[in-house]
């Protein structure tokens, strides 16, 4: 609790980082309120780790400033910042035992009686009694928890997590996600978590910032981002979307009419990021429902005819591809909640959705439909490293 002070929001103002001619982070401005769990989500190479390293002090911004509370920490050496990092590689000291690894930060700050705190911290991460072991004797998951304990014991104002779960297998990763969230709630420290796993970001974080090419595409609560994405990138990075190219003709009576490949649809004005000109009409696959004929479409729903070209059963849902008249394949997720019969491939169907479930995004002129066309869930974009 050494350097705790109220109002310690983390703020990045116009931060740019260039490596030679490559701009890793491009005029990024961001505020992370104190005590929140914040996730930086993006594919590899999007600048999220560079952003994290600038907060840690391991990289110096080319321009811009980093504030912690009122203090400008842009040029502060890493060892002078009340910020600690859980590294992707864990970076445990191989020549020190677990207890000394955890005590490292306290000792460097001149604390002598650390045994009690170390024990407490090892208990917090479920590693009681592992103190005398060496890092090499621990499994990946255990090493990950040591790295967490080693950072947390210093009670930093901000804890930075650089893909800390990337090297763990799926089951362990899920457990650690819950565990990290619990620890964050318990200690109340600001967590900034970098990940390429959209599911991980959505499960854990209060606020998610989706990064692309050194910039933030959208920032908000996970549900907000998923429900009403700001860009085509976010719409397809965070889950899947069917984005159909269309043209909007301005608002009329609270709705935006859209012309899509000859068909007319409407979207409520409050769900339109663009109301005129080229747009993408977006609908999430699980918001689409399949029926046999136009007569079966509930009143008030929008609909589109097509033919089922692929169906794959994933247990919790069945994922269909439906080819429209103009050849684009829509992805449709049908929940296997009982009562629905599987639709065989080749069946003519009508896909329908409620207008308030669709959204409109601005589209570059000439850009066509954007559908993932994959029946399986894109688990992670970008290779886990």
């Amino acid at each position: 609790m050494a350097q705790k002070e109220p109002g310690g929001d983390l703020r990045l103002v116009d931060v740019t980082k260039r490596f030679g001619i490559f701009t890793a982070v491009d005029e990024l401005t961001l505020t992370v309120p104190q005590g929140t769990f914040f996730a930086l989500l993006g594919a590899s190479g999007c600048g999220k780790t560079t952003t994290l390293r600038m907060v840690a002090g391991l990289e110096e911004p080319t321009s811009g400033q980093v504030f912690l509370g009122e203090q400008d920490i842009t040029r502060l050496r890493p060892y002078r910042r009340p910020v600690n990092t859980v590294f992707q590689s864990y970076a445990l000291f191989p020549h020190l035992d677990i207890a000394e690894n955890v005590a490292f930060g306290l000792r460097r700050r001149g604390l002598r009686n650390v045994a009690g705190q170390v024990e407490q911290m090892l208990a917090l991460v479920q590693l009681d009694g592992y103190g005398p072991r060496r890092p090499g004797q621990l499994s990946g998951g255990q090493q990950q928890r040591v790295a967490l304990a080693r950072a947390l014991i210093n009670h930093p104002q901000v804890l930075l997590l650089d893909e800390p779960l990337g090297a763990l297998d799926l089951k362990l990763r899920r457990q650690m996600q819950i565990e990290l969230k619990r620890i964050q709630t318990e200690v109340g420290i600001t967590f900034v978590h970098v990940t390429h796993d959209q599911e991980e970001a959505m499960t854990m974080a209060d606020t998610v910032a989706v990064m692309n090419a050194g910039r933030i595409e959208q920032l908000g609560a996970p549900a907000e981002l998923y429900d009403y994405p700001a860009t085509a990138f976010v719409a397809n990075f965070l889950g899947q979307s069917n984005l159909l190219a269309g043209d909007a003709a301005g608002t009329s009576a609270g709705d935006v009419p859209v012309q899509v490949h000859g068909a007319r649809f409407t979207v409520p004005a409050e769900r339109a990021r663009a109301v005129r000109g080229p747009v993408h009409l977006g609908v999430r696959p699980e918001k689409l429902h399949l029926v046999g004929s136009v007569e079966a479409v509930p009143t008030g729903s929008q609909h589109l005819a097509g033919v089922v070209t692929d169906a794959s059963y994933t247990g919790v849902s069945t994922q269909y591809l439906v080819r429209t008249d103009w050849g684009t394949e829509l992805t449709v997720f049908a929940a296997n909640s009982g009562g629905s019969t599987p639709v065989p491939v080749g069946t003519p169907v009508v896909a329908h959705w409620r207008a308030e479930h669709a959204f409109l995004l601005p589209r570059e002129p000439g850009e066509s439909d954007r559908t993932t066309g994959l029946v399986d869930e894109p688990a992670a974009v970008g290779a886990p490293t």
């Binding site: 060892y79 020549h95 621990l138």
Partner: protein
């Protein structure tokens, strides 16, 4: 909390010993080296041990009688005690000097040299392409009374007007330092090169200043290389006689010079053999104490 308790610790996989179709193959592969070692090291060592116990009254002309003359040892030690201690003193000082020069050098090559790394390594090894003797003779020229170095030092009054470098302990220690430096730098480089810079970032993130990170992370992790390097330096340096011979006077003679003269000049074989064993024992004792103090179980 309870979730994690159920995560089992991954037991380290034990690689099964490979029992191929040729179980004797490893021993066959050992054979040439082992035979070489036996014929050219093991047997001569036994012969040397026997020689050290011959009757010192004999000579090459009259032949030596095996009298188990254990007295050869204390006698040799008593006669050449100053050369013994001088050997370890000079080799010790040279080791410290070499470490002071070699550590920053190895550190710079391993961590800071970038694309110059290989070129710098070649520079470290390059002197080895000329003979040890030639290099030491070159030092004789450099340190000579008429050389530019002595002239310069006299001009800036670091040396008296008649002060000299050649034929002094300084010259011998400098020669030792120079000649064995690569043996210290190379192992040190190898261990620093393996150092994961992310550990230094982690140390820095955990409040270690650059000096603190060096003391707590870099230095301990380079310890195996440092120990191997200082041993590879100290052991040949303490047995060396060329540097004292060419750069010093009999006042700077080390134990190597005494052994050299016992075998080749005075033809006192039992004494030379006894001194050789004493040197071996002394070096082993120094190494043993050093390793115990340095506390790295990895080396031994």
């Amino acid at each position: 909390m309870t979730l994690l308790a159920r995560v089992p610790a991954n037991p380290a996989p034990v690689a099964p010993l490979r029992r191929g179709r040729y179980p004797l193959l490893p021993y066959l592969l050992l054979l040439p080296g082992a035979a070489w070692l036996l014929v050219f090291f093991g047997l001569p060592l036994v012969q040397l041990a026997a020689t050290s116990l011959y009757d010192p009254a004999g000579s090459l002309a009259t032949g030596y009688a095996m009298t188990w003359a254990v007295d050869n040892y204390p006698a040799a030690l008593q006669a050449y005690w100053p050369q013994f201690s001088r050997s370890f003193l000079y080799a010790g000082i040279a080791t410290v000097l070499a470490l002071l020069m070699g550590y920053p050098l190895a550190y710079a090559i391993a961590l800071k040299a970038g694309r110059w790394k290989n070129l710098l390594l070649v520079c470290v090894i390059a002197p080895m392409f000329t003979s040890f003797l030639v290099r030491t003779l070159a030092w004789k020229t450099i340190l000579s009374d008429n050389g530019w170095l002595v002239g310069l030092l006299r001009d800036v009054h670091l040396l008296d007007a008649d002060g000299r470098l050649l034929a002094t302990p300084v010259a011998v220690v400098l020669g030792l330092t120079y000649n064995f430096l690569p043996f210290l730098v190379l192992p040190l480089y190898a261990s620093l090169e393996r150092l994961d810079y992310r550990l230094l970032e982690a140390a820095s993130d955990l409040y270690a200043s650059p000096v603190g990170a060096f003391r707590r992370v870099t230095l301990p992790l380079s310890m195996p290389g440092l120990i191997a390097g200082t041993l590879l330096f100290f052991i040949p340096a303490s047995g060396d006689y060329i540097n004292a011979e060419l750069l010093g006077t009999p006042n700077e003679y080390m134990i190597g010079n005494v052994i050299d003269s016992a075998f080749l000049v005075r033809l006192d074989y039992p004494q030379g053999a006894a001194l050789s064993f004493l040197l071996m024992a002394a070096v082993l004792a120094v190494v043993f104490v050093y390793l115990r103090r340095a506390g790295t179980e990895e080396v031994l």
